[in-house]
Symmetry: C2
Subunit: 311 residues, 2 copies
């Protein structure tokens, strides 16, 4: 284990991948891994990239990687993949090929499942990001699937949340619905070469005004990942946002809130697995039968299972 | 408390309403209420009515109530209301007026919030249904909002799930998406006087065939709530489904699964409050600061918090 960690801290791609796999699979060692990892974290800037499927997030992320590389930064990417690694298709294939020359390029790309968490950011995603942080990546990009309410969870992990929109997808309605408008720190209108991009950008500006005055006003940038325009601007915006977070009370508040949520998530996970275990031991055909017959009730039963937890 | 329960069991509308309010607000007494309620439950038939907003669920429910009343059954209704009770608008107003002569009519209608659970069925909904069950209602109807994936949760509570569709709403796509096709026990094509109703019914039949052979084949009924046609047929279908559930192994399996999910939901709720409480005691500005500085880690911290509990 110590050797594995040492190799990972030395930027050995296979060791890093192995650590993430162990943690993703919730292996028995995962808690020890995370304890060893944690003191080395807190240096990377974590960027969450979200937006509807089809908004061109992956292509945009590839362009953004190049921008950070041009600053000499090492970039780790976690792409949350809704599909199994075996049916991932073309995009995942490209990414895996990219991974071959990872260390030399200062880029590490990893695809992770969403662990049943529809389109979502799981505990495993967060732990993967922490591992990349500890292994010396200056920037960690988390690319989400972009589906559903759980998307908003990215704010629990990311320092900077970037929402990728694109013309002609009815995104204005979508973002209003998902409540993602409030959490985005910067907006990218991708496929800016397409008709309607200006309209999307204007709509976002209007909606931002409706949210009222805030210290950090999220910039809206027109980007063509295809023509590679506007991406540098987004990188500059992200760097500005880093500086803002480091200096402002808002940044401190956000870090503290994230830490609180992190502890709570770990606690919830721990207690849940203990409770699950005792419920599984307790659950029998007879017990369900006596519940069905109302000989006992689920409230008393729960209290019994949880009696270990009464302080 | 005992008096309140006694009055509620005696079908006192205000007492029943008070019990539901206490439980909905998660009042300190709510656990005791539910423990007292539970032994009296298990007699009502719980019907979940779901379908897109605008499908005419409320009007249909009103017609269905009349059908069950004609059989001499007492009917309790829980309408999940996405809006606050203060902005509920016309429909809620009508319903509250209806509630005035509830006991005499053998009908009790209650609107409940969705507790942040987008369009959803919350723990409170379930507890409300249990209260109505215990208070002697033969039929308990839960009318959902009809939005999103969480809609599917109705199957965790309802004995019979009724999906209300209507022509011209692109429902075929919607139901395929939400995975609600698999959980509906009966289909209602409402507004059958409108053009395209036959087409919707035929589409549903085709999709049901795709699901393969099952013991209970969900009937598809054309209904006009406006003209009051087809509603008696739906009532008969529901009664047949009750009989089927009582006799079949499928019915037993379903009851057991629901009981398991119920215990798990209660456990989950309890766990959250344990986490919150134990973390709140420990959380200080200093602790967050030392986490931020990586002087300690959330994993060790969680273990410390959990060490208080005798596991």
């Amino acid at each position: 284990m110590e050797k594995l960690l040492e190799r990972a801290f030395g930027q050995d791609v296979r060791a890093i991948g192995r650590l993430i796999s162990l943690v993703e699979a919730e292996a028995p060692a995962s808690k020890e891994i995370m304890k060893a990892i944690y003191p080395h974290t807190g240096h990377a800037h974590v960027i969450g990239i979200t937006g509807s499927p089809g908004a061109g997030k992956s292509t945009f992320v590839n362009r953004l990687i190049a921008q950070f590389r041009s600053e000499g930064k090492k970039v780790g990417v976690i792409a949350i993949d809704p599909s199994s690694p075996f049916t991932g298709g073309a995009i995942l294939g490209d990414r895996l090929r990219m991974q071959d020359h990872a260390v030399e390029d200062g880029v590490f790309i990893r695809s992770m499942g969403s662990r049943g968490n529809l389109g979502g950011v799981s505990r495993g995603t967060h732990e993967g990001a922490l591992i990349l942080d500890a292994c010396g990546f200056d920037v960690v990009i988390i690319e989400t699937v972009g589906v559903g309410q759980s998307e908003v969870d990215i704010v629990k992990i990311a320092d900077t949340v970037c929402l990728v929109l694109t013309p002609g997808m009815g995104d204005d309605v979508q973002i209003m619905k998902a409540g993602i408008m409030e959490i985005a720190d910067t907006f990218v209108v991708n496929k800016a070469d397409k008709e309607g991009a200006d309209k999307v950008a204007a709509d976002v500006q209007v909606m931002l005004k409706m949210l009222g005055q805030r210290e950090w006003i999220p910039p809206v940038t027109l980007v063509s990942s295809y023509k590679n325009t506007g991406v540098e601007e987004v990188k500059d915006t992200i760097n500005k946002h880093i500086a803002y977070l480091n200096e402002s009370s808002e940044g401190k508040r956000r870090r503290y809130t994230q830490l609180e949520m992190e502890v709570e998530a770990i606690l919830r996970g721990e207690i849940s697995s203990i409770v699950e275990k005792s419920w599984n031991e307790k659950r029998t055909e007879e017990l369900l039968e006596s519940l069905a017959l109302r000989k006992c009730d689920p409230y008393t039963l729960s209290a019994e299972i949880l009696s270990k937890f009464t302080i």
